[in-house]
Amino acid sequence: MDIDICIVAFSQSACLAQAGAANEVELIMPELEAVYRQVGISNAQDVDFVCSGSCDYLQGAAFAFVSGVDALGAVPPIQESHVEMDAAWALYEAVLKIRMGHAESALVYGFSKSSPGELPIVLSQQLDPYYLAPQWIDSISLAALQARLMLDRGIIELSDMAAVVASSRRCAIENKKAQLSGQFSVSDLLKEPEYVSPLRRADCSPISDGASAMIICTKSKAEEWNVPFARLVGIDHRIETHNLGMRDLTTSHSTRLVAEALSIHSDSLDIAELYAPFSHQQLILEKSLELRPETDINPSGGVLAGNLMMASGLSRVGEVFDRIVDGKASRGLAHATSGPCLQHNLLAILERG
């Protein structure tokens, strides 16, 4: 990159199964206040660009993403944009804005109020509108078809999936924002009944309400603000065909392509935060990224411990940022996904400043 891009602030709310009455503005504001405080600014007037990620269909409130702007302080008018995607892609847009020289700093946020709707069914309507959406096949069932392919071909076993869950729950004990945590053994988890076979409930990320926010800027701006930062040294994404039958669902071709494009050097990653909404998908990602045993995978517990739809991808980047500025890691990888069965994947590499 010609322009060094730095992450200077991150905040995420707790992942709640039900955020109660709070609307989008009320979910977003505490996280915005937290990131403003981290860099010592007062509102969105103090950054050059704002980009958010959300999906109004989750809560069924038309133009909730526009209402969300009420949290920003947009008088006088600000430069603002939105992606109907996870906020990791809002981060991508903000990075482009800075790299093009159109901004020196940007606020990025995502919010999720999934509890008012039936999320797996809402997500069925993002599928191809002629062949799949009219069948109302939900996101959990599609993931189950993917897991079955892997089990049938001997790529993974049920105990491998349970081990992913056990690790997530264990790591999440340290994560105050997590929704699900605790000590569970693989055998305990395998004793649970099947949900949508071969998946058990624990193999599926929970449905969570909440929000996350981040501030990024040029290196000179970070120095001006005089705050600790992590360098965002690479970010890229790839998408695969919507036709699930044409994809090899047992691997992640698009993740491999991004990893190659970014030269992620998996041998020098201290941590990796992967957005795997289903346990077997973490195994797919670990393999596609050729992660080494030395890399600490999902130290936050990942999204199996709490999944803020439309914000979890940004939060993966934030979790890596937090650990770099805390000195727990020098180099980390963040992954975000979108679409059914890991259709669309984004990677970001962060390094100590």
């Binding site: 009455a21 069925s124 189950a144 039958g245």
Partner: protein
Amino acid sequence: MSILLVQFLRVEGLVEDLFLQKEYELGFTYTRSTGPVVGKFLTGLKNKKIFGNRGSDGRVIVPPMEYDPETFQPLNDFVQVSDAGMIESWCWVAEPRPAHPSAVPFAWVMIKLDGADISMIHHVVTDEPSRVVTGARVKASWIDQPVGLISDIRYFVLEK
């Protein structure tokens, strides 16, 4: 004077925090244009026939796609395939959701129809769930008066 008339009620004070909620339904009553490729497939269904088309690599894709995802070429070489095939993957839905196409427990399946190279997604209804396995043979059960929708295939049934 105005100060006497203005009351300030603190958030935590005189008013309890209410969790007001209301059930409602959002409806999007769209009519969708099919284009020639999807239209060919749906017209086939209306006549209880299943059409796919050949991808740039010669593989038969069912349902047909408008463009090849690898070469981006438009795809027009239509091929009729069988309405029977083999289960490639499946999952068992013990508790169907209200939106699901079956009210009784069923299996979502990826099916490779005979004559196709790419599997399609549909569902199997059976009272013998243990027979739903990868490799099992299934056949389409058509509704009596197809209209040109994917639901013209009521579901797939296990072959004897």
